[in-house]
């Protein structure tokens, strides 16, 4: 492991320690034994079965994190991914059940519908931003609530499966051609044993591909350069010839399109679902915001954050029997997030200062004393006059 990698771990690890301390204090206040609680949590996750379940649960969280990270990278805060994925999952689930296609076409078809629906919903916010200067945070959150109402309406009025009784509001189950088989066979072929009744869902490869695609787009493509540029310094982006309106439209559409896929692991790979209904998981979009922030908008970081989050959720599930409220998991995750974003900022400032000092040393600058005099501009990554307005954040 390189030193750089280890140094990057300092902030999240100290945040984790702080989160454990905070949660322990909360447990102590509630009169519970934190040591016992954490021991029980460890027991819960210490099995192949648990690890598999954690990975299964982490996949949608991961997609959710990537979805918002795309926007975050250019300071475009799409906080309405929740509505985008619910609407996308509903329509994709319905459309997927309505058509019959061979698997090689059916799977891409469901993907396409979900991405187009999610992307289009986010595009409304983008259009309002570029034409009417409406703040993206506000419009995406309003559209989020509208999507929740709209999807409930569509489900009960139009897309409901009438044949399977009217009691539960849900769409028709998608045919096998639209389902993704579990990956057990693949791993067992390598001699890995999952144990009874445990399935590693088949969406994992798509999630990995998504992460790689996101990385390449961001770091190797001209579009990714323009995106990061718009996020770091929108004015420089503008005078370098980037069209900010086009960037807002494309980026929000992409963010929404990826958000549209958040529900697909359940829809396509989870045998409990294969359909959209009242039981469909909600709130994954909001969690994704936290995952993206924890993972610092970086694909590997987001993956790690998704696994940590899923682990916390899993670990705290069975605390009830020992008298510890499972809600401690939400404190654990929430405080971890808050401390982590602070720790990242502190680490960033330290590194920036160190980099400045190192550069001054290395160049043996004649004007070593030049320092922080008003006009040199050295030493602050935010530039001498911080006037950054987030792209799409103008109101």
């Amino acid at each position: 492991m390189s030193r750089k990698f280890l140094r990057a771990l300092i902030a999240p690890v100290s945040a984790a320690v702080a989160a454990v301390v905070i949660s322990s204090i909360a447990l102590l206040i509630a009169g519970k034994d934190p040591i016992e609680a954490f021991r029980e949590m460890w027991k819960t996750i210490d099995s192949t079965q648990s690890v598999t379940i954690i990975i299964n649960n982490a996949v949608p969280l991961y997609i959710s994190g990537v979805a918002v990270a795309i926007g975050f990278k250019m300071n475009l805060f799409n906080i309405g991914s929740n509505g985008q994925y619910l609407l996308a999952a509903l329509i994709a689930g319905w459309a997927g059940a309505e058509v019959s296609l061979p698997p090689l076409l059916h799977v891409p078809f469901v993907f396409l519908v979900a991405m187009v629906v999610g992307g289009s919903w986010a595009l409304i916010a983008a259009i309002l931003n570029v034409t009417r200067n409406v703040n993206v945070v506000i419009s995406t959150i309003m559209l989020n609530y509208i999507a929740i109402g709209l999807s409930a309406f569509l489900l009960s009025e139009l897309f409901r499966d009438e044949e399977n009784g009217g009691l539960v509001a849900q769409t028709k189950e998608m045919p096998a051609s639209a389902q993704l088989p579990p990956l057990n066979a693949l791993f067992e072929w390598f001699g890995f044993n999952f144990g009874e009744g445990v399935e590693l869902y088949g969406f994992l490869p798509f999630a990995i591909a998504l992460g790689i695609g996101y990385y390449i787009l961001l770091n190797r493509s001209r579009f990714g350069y323009d995106l990061r540029l718009s996020g770091s310094n929108p004015e420089a982006a503008l005078s370098s010839g980037v069209n900010p309106k086009k960037m807002v439209l494309i980026t929000l559409f992409m963010s929404g399109a990826v958000a549209g896929m958040i529900g697909l692991p359940y829809l396509m790979a989870d045998p409990d679902f294969h359909k959209y209904g009242d039981a469909f998981p909600t709130g994954l979009g909001f969690t994704g915001l936290g995952i993206a922030l924890l993972g610092r908008n970086n694909p590997a970081g987001i993956a790690a954050a998704a696994i940590v989050w899923a682990t916390i959720e899993r670990a705290t599930q069975r605390l009830g029997p020992i008298g510890v409220p499972p809600e401690i998991g939400r404190i654990l995750a929430g405080s971890f997030l808050l401390v982590a974003v602070i720790a990242y900022e502190v680490a960033k400032r330290r590194n920036d200062a160190a980099a400045t000092a190192a550069a001054a040393q290395a160049t043996h600058d004649e004007r070593l004393a030049a320092g922080d005099d008003d006009d040199t501009g050295r030493g602050s990554p935010d530039g001498p006059t911080p006037t950054a307005t987030p792209a799409g954040g103008e109101r």
Partner: protein, 432 residues
């Protein structure tokens, strides 16, 4: 040392002579009258008296209050330099504490508890944004994710073993906060004597425009709960604080030009903390108002009102009056969804919107703004079509009305917005 040569054309220019209808106060009055006329026409055409009834306005005021407080919370935060996306979370903190103290100690303590919980959230966020310089939106998102967890944990500890309580709900407040009715105007009591209710009489006549205004006045002056009155008072209080006290000037400088404040010895970080404490307190009180309305803490009862508050603040261009107006609009939109026949009311509101668009269209033609005619005609026709073609929306669609109205409001609202110049930018000593 006169330095800039005065611009002569500018200095000698005659004050622009404006037509009477272009003078600001006349304009506002004129459009208010037109608005009342449109609503009244829609009421008469749809035959739905509830569109402008005192009952509707009463509920509207009630539902507007928490959003208004959230908007005011955002206003104080942003004026003092912090973009507060965490209002939602601070309101959640407010609801849990209000639910707890309201149940233990009564409704007034619910308000105190709500403010306390909100301040906790505000200070926590300020720790991240002010002291550590975390991106304000990132910190706000973190607060919004943390607060429901804290609330649920607390609810689990406090309410699960109590009669009538559960992890998602408090047992209920002990006692009612009470309400106030204005004498004469709305038949309030004066020294034990029930005064005549003039507005009610006027409303019952059903007269064009007069009944609607009477409905409005009656709605906002009768049986107004004390927490709502307190909310209205806070608008005046905060406006006074920001624009008429030294502290207010310093708070605003923390948002407009922190370096200038620092260069004159004003402690910028203290100002930003103060702003966030006030902001958190107002948000928390918004949560308390929700708890008082529902008479108990309920999980997820904030339901996006923090964000709605932010939207109303932007709609109001970072000014208290505009924020209050935005909240009123939202409150009305939500208020009608809580009446007995919301679907019908929403439809009547669409009719009112169509009529309003017709008036705007007429105005556009009158002022010969030909470029706007085609799109405006299209929008007007679509709205009329929506009214005639669509049947009564069901409950799920009615639920989205306030959010749609808010989204439309911020889209068509003033485009020349003026947020505080340096809000959202972490500030540290030595920065320019």
């Amino acid at each position: 040392m006169s330095v800039i040569i005065p611009n002569e054309e500018e200095a000698n220019a005659d004050p622009v002579v404006r037509a009477w209808h272009e003078r600001p106060h006349w304009r506002i009055f004129l459009w208010t009258v037109v608005g009342v006329a449109v609503m009244s026409t829609a009421r008469l055409l749809s035959g739905n008296d509830d569109l402008t009834s005192s009952g509707t306005f009463g509920v509207a005021l009630r539902t507007a209050a928490p959003v208004a407080l959230a908007g005011l919370s955002g206003l104080v935060a942003e004026r003092s330099g912090t973009i507060n996306i965490g209002i939602e979370g601070m309101m959640v903190m407010g609801t849990i504490f209000a639910g707890w103290w309201g149940w233990e100690f009564g409704p007034w303590m619910a308000i105190v508890g709500g403010i306390f919980g909100g301040i906790l959230g505000g200070l926590l966020m300020s720790l991240a944004t002010t002291t550590f310089g975390v991106n304000h939106i990132v910190a706000g998102v973190a607060i919004n994710l943390l607060a429901p967890g804290v609330a649920r944990f607390m609810a689990n500890e406090l309410f699960t073993d109590v009669q009538g309580g559960s992890v998602t709900s408090s047992p209920g407040n002990s006692g009612d906060i009470g309400e106030f009715t204005v004498p004469f105007l709305s038949g309030g009591e004066l020294f034990g004597w029930t005064t005549p209710n003039i507005m009610e009489w006027l409303e019952d006549t059903g007269w064009f425009m007069i009944a609607d205004v009477a409905g409005f006045v009656l709605g906002v002056t009768s049986e107004v709960s004390w927490d709502v009155i307190l909310t209205v008072g806070l608008f005046f209080g905060i406006a006074y604080l920001l624009w008429s006290t030294p502290l207010g000037l310093r708070l605003r400088f923390a948002g407009e030009r922190p370096s200038a404040a620092d260069s004159l010895g004003v402690n910028v970080h203290l100002m930003r903390y103060t702003g966030m404490a006030i902001s958190g307190g107002l948000a928390g009180m918004g949560g308390a108002v929700l708890v008082l309305f529902a008479n108990r803490y309920q999980e997820d009862q904030v339901a996006g009102r923090g964000f709605l508050g932010l939207a109303t603040m932007i709609f109001g261009n970072w000014m208290p009056l505009g924020t209050a107006a935005g909240a009123g609009l939202f409150g009305y939109a939500q208020g009608i969804t809580l009446r007995t026949n919301p679907g019908e009311l929403v439809r009547a509101l669409v009719l009112a919107a169509a009529l309003g668009l017709l008036v705007v269209l007429a105005w556009i033609v009158y002022t010969q703004n030909w470029r706007a005619v085609v799109p405006m005609t299209a929008i007007t026709l679509v709205t009329f079509w929506a009214y005639f073609a669509a049947t009564e929306p069901n409950n799920q669609l009615v639920f989205v009305t306030p959010y749609v109205v808010t989204l439309i409001a911020v889209s068509v609202g003033a485009q020349r917005l003026r947020p505080p110049a340096e809000e959202g930018i972490p500030w540290f000593k030595g920065m320019q």
